[in-house]
Amino acid sequence: MSESFFFPASCPLPTGCKDVVELAHGGGGRLTHELVERLFRPAFATCNEDFTHDGATFDAGNERLAFTTDSYVVRPLFFPGGDIGSLAVNGTVNDLAMCGAEPRYLSVGLVIEEGFALATLQRVVESMRAAALAANVRIVTGDTKVVERGKGDGLYVNTSGVGVVRAPAPVVPQRVRAGDAVILSGDIGRHGMAILAVREGLGFETELASDCAPLADTVLALIDEGIELHCLRDLTRGGLATGLIEIAEAANVAMDLIEAAIPVLDPVRGACELLGLDPLYVANEGRFVAFVPADHAGGAVERLRRFDPRATVIGRVVSAHGRPAVRLNALGGARELDMLSGEQLPRIC
């Protein structure tokens, strides 16, 4: 193997100024992770699994419940393939699904900026209603706050969700083990690129539509099929790479991925090439990875393909030998993936 060094190969990462919160702290990458690990987990967590997954689970009487929350600050509010309303419903539905739970009840917390058009609010609410119907969840409680003009950005939506765990065993990173297959439920990068194209006025003529969709039925189908689910993770902020690295770290495992197996649609690839972005780090809103024992992989993929024919095994879990890592098998061999320290920025070089 040849040796190489000198200048940065991928362009610069976040820096300094850590006395204040930066956008990168919300980007889903390294800084978000550190915020959780250094601030929230020490303050709040009462067990090891708190704050390491999409949601928490706990017993209530003779049932095990899942509970999760997410705030949605997506701009623009309406984008090809969805809007903040459907996103807020599906996002929380999906986090419950990732706990192996059947989503049941949602709450809605709106923070609206003074001057926001009521007609637009109505559209968002209508979209939430439709998304809740489609995902078979009930929105049962809510809250509305209005903030002064200039102190918000139109509309922020929080949804929290409660679901009933249906998986027979915990679906958590800690159960991932060497030998597990890493299964991806469909093509990646659509949501993030659809948003970026509209938001940054990139003037992409072709509509890149978000993949925003509820995943609960898909997950429940796997459970019904008897697939042993070690862990599930929806691939939102930070994309596939970040999701996998978080799991590798929480489970203390390594993963070997086959780059060529990861499906990316041509327009997503085109847009990524143009902006110098890596689709592995681009957000999705209707895609997840499943970790299943190798002998369940075939059945899982087959079942998943009834929802999306692009579902496929993209790699496998191997022993970490003490150093968790996610490696991407490229032309010349394995390259280790890094968690982003912030949002990807368009590159020119």
Partner: protein, 379 residues
């Protein structure tokens, strides 16, 4: 995607790798100049496909990394002015100046916008006549035509609220500087394909001859890179030292006439400081006298670019292959990836960052099987 996929074909790539292995009989050190090529090499693992005797050196071809720290400080000073909308390419935002980055400045209130093209900055100036739009014009010969066109459009529309903070750099003088370094150890170069798309490659011919190094004009995809390396090694093995152009689908010897004309009209060649490397004669572009009014530094009387602080960072010496990160007194203590002092600590693939991750005694992870992969060679 046509004109991409063909050049990523694994079979083709492996055929070149095999060919290289077949012809390489000695140790060769080859530098790819361009950060884009470096990126592609690491992303696709091209370096791992080469025989152990071939060492790739990553050249100073990342425009954001060679932009002087003082220039970034000036950028931040401009960006903080309330009337200014400061526009930059995205990858510039994270690079620290002497202290802060533009991203940090934005978090503290500066109006910093990411643009995809200099023309986006012109459009902002058009739509915000009450603000002053400053575009951070960085980049090599490839990007200079885009900046030139922004100036020409602003001139034609008489946009008085548009100007540039210019830090354009030129490749051949940098190659010359590296080769002029005694004991530099570079046997051959992959010339940056897209720089050549604009400028052609005639300028490299005297260089190749004078220093007796093969220079191969190379594209960015795996097959392009392996093809370029193959040709370079073939020359080295044959004792040749000429300029070759396997990237002929995108590069002609004379470059792009229209683009060169625009650059020549808007800019003049001048001495330029490179981060960590000091000043290199005739290695930069400044606005030509007739466009001086678009120069932010001329516009703000009190604004100038502070000289580089004699700080602890020895990245310049690393670049010349003279020292290693662990020789740096700040390494791992005052300089970390979260608080970098130099550009080579900024990226996870940079030399200092790589050493930080895998070579510190205090590393949280015991060195494992992956370590070999990131070993950096001696020159």
């Amino acid at each position: 995607m046509k004109h991409v996929d063909e050049w990523r074909d694994p079979a083709a790539a492996h055929r070149y790798a095999d060919a290289i292995a077949k012809i390489a009989t000695r140790h060769w050190t080859i530098m790819e100049i361009c950060g884009g090529q470096t990126h592609s090499i690491v992303r696709h693992g091209i370096d791992r496909m080469l025989p152990p005797g071939i060492t790739l050196l990553h050249g100073p071809g990342c425009p954001v990394c060679v932009t002087p720290a003082g220039m970034i400080d000036t950028a931040i000073e401009l960006a903080r002015r309330p009337e200014v909308i400061f526009c930059s390419f995205g990858d510039m935002l994270r690079v620290p100046g002497e202290r802060d980055s533009l991203l940090a400045a934005r978090a503290h209130g500066a109006d910093v916008r990411v643009v995809y093209s200099p023309l986006d900055a012109v459009a902002l100036a058009r739509s915000h006549p009450e603000r002053l739009v400053v575009f951070f014009a960085i980049g090599f010969e490839t990007t200079a035509p885009a900046t030139a066109m922004a100036v020409l459009q602003a001139e034609r529309e008489q946009l008085a609220n548009f100007c540039l903070l210019v830090s354009h750099v030129l490749v051949p003088p940098a190659i010359e500087a590296i080769l002029a370094e005694p004991g530099n150890g570079v046997n051959g170069f992959l010339a940056a394909g897209h720089v050549c798309t604009v400028m052609g490659y005639a300028d490299y011919e005297p260089l190749a001859q004078r220093h007796h190094v093969p220079i191969v004009v190379t594209g960015f995809e795996p097959v392009d890179l392996l093809h370029g390396l193959y040709l370079c090694i073939r020359q080295l093995e044959a004792g040749e030292a000429k300029v070759e152009n396997p990237y002929s689908r995108a590069v002609r010897r004379e470059g792009n006439a229209a683009a060169r004309t625009a650059v020549a009209q808007v800019f003049s060649v001048q001495a330029q400081r490179w981060r960590g490397m000091g000043e290199i004669a005739a290695s930069g572009l400044g606005l030509a006298p007739r466009y001086r009014r678009y120069d932010a530094l001329a516009r703000f009387a009190n604004l100038d670019v502070p000289a580089e602080h004699a700080n602890e960072c020895i990245a310049g010496e690393l670049l010349r292959g003279r020292r290693k990160p662990c020789d740096c007194p700040a390494f791992g203590t005052r300089c970390t990836p979260e608080h970098p002092l130099g550009a080579t600590m900024v990226s996870s693939e940079g030399v200092c960052a790589a050493y930080y991750r895998y070579r510190r005694a205090e590393s949280r992870h015991a060195p494992g099987e992956q370590e070999a992969r990131t070993t950096t060679g001696t020159l």
